[in-house]
């Protein structure tokens, strides 16, 4: 053997050794489809491979991709014995092809898991956004059921306790329209894990629940029977919000561990949303109850005298504020005439804080009604109660003691730091009541003067807060409504009933303010009603007016 021949053989055997030990699996197949070479890595990956054997016999999955002469080989992948393999070809000059095999099972698995995780994250993110959209418990439950059937199950049932034995139940079925609701008596013990879920205990695995044993009230008729069931608690703030039951048809396959985990995360978010909705409803109910006492009262005719009030809080969303009015029947006068105390006031500040103080002042005034005869004394006692408890809170107000005197109305008016009332006479003249007094709640002693007057039939006394005269508006939005404008509008209301006077002034000031911000505005009108005309008997004569 020549030296050259020997060197060539050595190089070839060295190359063969490198080929055999290469970490990447490879096999070479001749033009006729016979396996020519296999390296160790290929044998490890596909133990059935044999040199000299036909590719179609030892690797049929690859023979379909192996090119016939004259065609180009292409990269190809398939699952072999549970492993995902990718085969990439290299063509040689002699017509043979080397296939490089790569096991991509783990890569694919990670990629699939990542895709599942991404879609799960998107679902939970979308669910959170949707759940934030409503603070109404019923709507919230419908959203939960709807989201669940969109992404997790064929049907979903959301349960929450309504009363001790009754449950509010919302059911949604995929492809069957909007969720439906019912409140019914049912026994949670009929479903394994449901009673526990409603108490906030961790969920039982889906495989522990026998779908065949599910009660009829749980399985919607649209899905026939349940193939698998997941029961998961809806945890709330402190106390459980309810439970979520997911159902799949028999053909849909069981819930995977990952799906159960997603269901638990979704349930956690859903429970918090339901809990927030329930807390909001409770707060709204409490607020409504408290608000009822703070709202101005509905006024009506008392002892033949017309009373009408109007109130517009500073913030459009508020229903209460710092302005208030009240009308209280009092003890009769010494001559036995029915007496009424009307009060209109303005507490410093705006919104709920002012409304709370307003409530306290109204309660105090109510307790002081036995002193209604003596306005200055009543104001002094109210002043004492305010001065002693808070040094920066004060109120301006007007007291009006109203008594019927035949067809007239007798008035005693006392203003304490407040704009004096207006008297609208029958002929359209407007007088300002001559009463002045100090703020209540600031000085140790309240000083005030009381003004007495009478209203003839059809005449009105108008009490108002400075929110009306100070309201900015007009053509440029910068002018105050002002006292003169108020007096002019009031004068135009001469002879109108109290309610019409209030409506007219409210309409004009609302137009004036437009969309501008404004302070609380309150009005109280007291009118001596016009006599009602009685025609003479038989239709003759002038007839007469009755008081």
């Amino acid at each position: 053997m020549t030296e050259i021949q020997q060197a060539t053989d050595e190089r070839t055997s060295a190359a063969d050794a490198r080929w055999a030990g290469a970490p990447c699996a490879a096999l070479t197949v001749g033009p006729d489809g016979t396996v020519l070479e296999i390296n160790d890595a290929a044998l490890l990956l596909v133990p059935a491979l044999r040199t000299g054997a036909g590719l179609s016999r030892v690797a049929p999955w690859l023979s379909g991709a192996h090119p016939v002469p004259g065609t180009e080989p292409v990269t190809f992948s398939d699952v072999v014995d549970g492993r995902a393999l990718e085969a990439t070809p290299s063509r040689h000059d002699d017509g043979s092809v080397t296939w490089w095999l790569i096991d991509v099972t783990d890569v694919r698995s990670v990629r699939d898991e990542l895709r599942i995780e991404q879609s799960r994250a998107v679902f939970l993110s979308d669910a959170s956004a949707a759940l934030l959209g409503s603070l109404n418990l019923q709507r919230c439950m419908e959203v939960i059921a709807g989201l669940a059937v969109d992404a997790l199950a064929d049907a979903a049932v959301v349960l929450t306790p309504a009363t001790r034995r009754q449950f509010r139940v919302v059911t949604a079925v995929s492809g069957h329209g909007a969720p439906r609701s019912a409140t019914s008596r049912l026994d949670p013990d009929e479903v394994p894990g449901l009673a526990e879920a409603l108490q906030g205990f961790p969920p039982v695995p889906s495989r522990w629940i026998d779908p065949a044993a599910a009660p009829s009230w749980l399985v919607p008729p649209e899905i026939g029977e349940a193939g698998s069931i997941v029961v998961t608690p809806l945890p709330g703030h402190g106390i459980p919000a309810g439970a979520l039951v997911l159902l799949r048809r028999p053909g849909s396959g069981p819930f995977s561990e990952g799906e159960e985990s997603t269901a638990r995360e979704f349930a956690a978010r859903s429970g918090l949303a339901m809990s927030a909705a329930r807390m909001f409803a409770r707060q709204a109910s409490i607020t409504e109850t408290l608000m009822r006492d703070l709202l101005p009262p509905k006024l009506q005719e008392i002892a033949g005298i017309e009373f009408a009030g109007g109130y517009r809080p500073a913030e459009d969303g508020d229903r209460v504020g710092g302005d208030f009015y009240d009308v209280h029947p009092c003890a009769p006068t010494p001559d036995g005439a029915a007496q009424t105390l009307a009060v209109l006031g303005d507490v410093c500040g705006k919104g709920l804080e002012a409304a709370v103080l307003t409530g306290r002042i109204r309660s105090t005034l109510h307790a002081l009604l036995p002193m209604a005869d003596d306005h200055v004394r009543l104001l002094g006692l109210l002043n004492d109660s305010l001065v002693s408890e808070d040094h920066t809170r004060f109120v301006t107000l007007v007291l009006a003691s109203v008594t019927r005197d035949g067809s007239d109305v007798r008035l005693r008016l006392t203003a304490a730091g407040h704009p004096p009332p207006l008297i609208v006479r029958a002929d359209g003249r407007v007088e300002e009541a001559d009463t002045r007094g100090t703020l209540v709640g600031v000085l140790p002693v309240v000083e005030a003067t009381t003004y007495e007057t009478r209203l003839a039939p059809g005449e009105t006394c108008l009490l108002y807060t400075d929110g009306i005269t100070e309201a900015l508006g007009g053509p440029m939005g910068r002018d105050q409504f002002g006292e003169q404008r108020l007096q002019r509008v009031a004068g135009e209301c001469a002879g109108l009933p109290a309610e019409a006077v209030v409506e007219r002034i409210q309409m004009v000031t609302t137009e004036w303010v437009g969309r501008n911000a404004h302070d609380d505005m309150a009005l109280l009108a007291v009118s001596a009603p016009r006599g009602r005309h009685l025609s003479a008997v038989g239709g003759h004569g002038r007839g007469r007016y009755t008081a």
Binding site: C348, F394, R436, L443, D519
Partner: protein
């Protein structure tokens, strides 16, 4: 003696506040514009700040530049007066010589019994020295 440069004006849209020391021992807060609820609180806070400064002497709330003085103006004065009492600082007010927008509500509500009022700044300063 020349007075120090006035401090920069500050405040919100409807009202401008300017504090200055016209003579030693007097701090003046000048209010120009219309006082609404938000500004009432700004005025009180600024008054408290001025009254807490060392060597503060007397404080004057000058409302001669106020064109509209409603219930929120009352609030500003009452709260400033309370703060002055707590800090032991004499506080007086200026209505402006012919400023009915301030004079009338001050008289009507009894604010003239809460703090001492003067028609102009000079008379407030002169009375403070006597």
């Amino acid at each position: 003696m020349s007075s120090p440069d006035p401090a920069p004006e500050w405040g919100a849209s409807k009202v401008r506040l300017r504090d200055h020391v016209p003579r030693p021992g007097f701090t003046v807060l000048e209010v120009i514009g219309e006082i609404d609820q938000a500004e009432a609180e700004v005025i009180r806070l600024r008054m408290v700040e001025l009254m807490q400064q060392p060597g503060r002497g007397r404080a004057v709330l000058d409302l001669s530049g106020v064109g509209f003085f409603g219930s929120h103006g009352l609030t500003a004065v009452v709260r400033s007066s309370r703060a002055a009492d707590e800090l032991g600082v004499p506080l007086s007010g200026v209505t402006g010589p012919a400023n009915r927008a301030v004079q009338r509500p001050v008289r009507m509500t009894g604010l003239d019994q809460v703090i001492r009022w003067y028609p102009d700044l000079d008379s407030a300063l002169a009375d403070g020295l006597s």
